[in-house]
Subunit: 379 residues, 2 copies
Amino acid sequence: MSPDELRRARAYLLRVAEPPAAALVAFVAEHGPVEAAARVRRGDCPPEVLKATEARRDYDLVDQDFGRAAAAGARLVVPEDDEWPAWPLLALEQAGRRGVSEAVPPLALWVSGDIALGTAADRAVAVVGARAATSYGEHHAAELAYGLASRGVPVFSGAAYGIDGAAHRGALAAGGVTVAVLGCAVDAGYPAGHVGLLNRIARNGGAVVSEYPPGAPPARHRFLVRNRLIAALTEGTLVVEAGRRSGARNTASTAGALGKVVMALPGPVSSGMSVGCHELIRDARATLVSTVDEVLETVGRFGIAEDQAARTQRPTDRLGPEALRTYEALTVRTDRSDSEIAAESGLPLRKVRALLPALEIDGFAVRGEAGWRRRRETA
Amino acid sequence: MSPDELRRARAYLLRVAEPPAAALVAFVAEHGPVEAAARVRRGDCPPEVLKATEARRDYDLVDQDFGRAAAAGARLVVPEDDEWPAWPLLALEQAGRRGVSEAVPPLALWVSGDIALGTAADRAVAVVGARAATSYGEHHAAELAYGLASRGVPVFSGAAYGIDGAAHRGALAAGGVTVAVLGCAVDAGYPAGHVGLLNRIARNGGAVVSEYPPGAPPARHRFLVRNRLIAALTEGTLVVEAGRRSGARNTASTAGALGKVVMALPGPVSSGMSVGCHELIRDARATLVSTVDEVLETVGRFGIAEDQAARTQRPTDRLGPEALRTYEALTVRTDRSDSEIAAESGLPLRKVRALLPALEIDGFAVRGEAGWRRRRETA
């Protein structure tokens, strides 16, 4: 399936200027991606757009980009797609109009992983922090991410060593959705020690996301530009550990500027890795959180008001207590045998055996080769 | 020196009703202590006052109270005294008028220790916390109290085991002023393990304070009533460690109700003894502080505005840098030899020997039997 004209235009535009390219994004909004790409290519555009694009406008790497992306299992998600996370990214446009610098939406995103990007970014929370984390920080990052993911909250982070990696691993351990947003291409193999982790994320119901074209190497400024996407794609950002100057604090301040919830975990005052968190809390730029419940309460309190209403209308609400326990013992990804489900749910085996076919009929469970799975649409 | 009529009347009033006795305090404000005492004694007072005083109004223990107090080295400080901390206690009257229950000023205070109570309560900070403290909490309570005391900030606390004791000890170690406000008489010998500490406080430039008459035993409700005095006598209350329910949180909420500054130290989220602090911070009832500088900044920020101005006009401001270092190597309490002062200040011995007589002439230093002391008035 070869990419259509629109997708090719956006792939070209994504490479032709270094994000965040405010003038180019405005030009695309005015003329549409196909015409904008054609005009950029022949230099027929306003001076600011010309300046941002002239160094790369003759590059013809669209076919190569799609080829390398396909090899890496990645696709280009564009604003015209149903799965585009339009609602979360709206915050970037709004902040841009308020004059927040760098608050520019991406022209498209390279995504590796089966999950629809809009689904992954639905009521998600970012868990970020220092690379030089302490074991205290890594432990709590993993615990909080585990707790959030097991309650159905997607966990976003930046795939860096330290807190980011612990957050992704915690969410994976819960069988939940986790998304890594990179400051380099999805196929850059960076950070080297996390290539396996990134593959696990993409293959286990999560996603690896980047606005940089295939092959793009990491760069310091790209991490800062990337941070705006982590902040924008989530409802709130939780800083687990941060030194006095750190990228996580940059994500936090971007989240604040975008009107998202900012949270920080406290720690021992003797720890240099909690100093940044304590400063954010002390200056009332972040709310102190210690537990998963507090994260959910904080996001709900300042976040989407219909949250509670939506929660009370979940399809599982009509299940009886034993059927619900059986359903909750299922995972989306892996088949479980009926005895595993009995052990997990704490229900007698014969009860589980009776309930599973009923759950299948009602559309909650799927019979697989090695047992039973949760039906994805209900999760 | 036998107590005058006024002091005898207040001693009687302090014993006749269990504090905080709002109706009695109002009655005393209306009629003056001497007439009020006489009328209470003969039952000639409004029903509410009668009700609060009838159980004890026939007690004639004034002579005994003064005798026991003298034996314990304590005196009665009354609102008519110059040393009465009228300004800090004004917050209680104001809060009482706003309808804050229990916000009733004391009728007098039994005080053990040479320092003038008003001086001790001048720009003081309360450092309080859990009895079942962790070593983390005790360590930081002592460090913060040490830092505050060495910068001339009196440290108030409640002399309980755990955080309170660590705070008093830290302030003592710095040679600073520390004040213990008790929920029992100054001579009750409570808590038993802190009798030595209380003696050290009273003998080393601090004070032990109580509104309970000599011999009064501790009681649960008295600690809560006492907490209002700790909150009122200080500019701000710092909670170092507190469980979910704790007396320290009671002091903090009283301080908040009195319009004083409330601060809390964060800690590991896994520590049950930091839960109370984290809740105070999370609910914006306390400002997070990690360092002595942050405590001073917080108290100054919300506290007395002339703070900074007063600080720039200290008498020591006119000392040169070496004279200041020499002066700062002196303590108020103990004589130091000139070689000890040289070691402490890091200045050559001959320099110190030249500067000390000059400091004596300018009124900053006092020559003692075993060396040199700081003159108390300049501290």
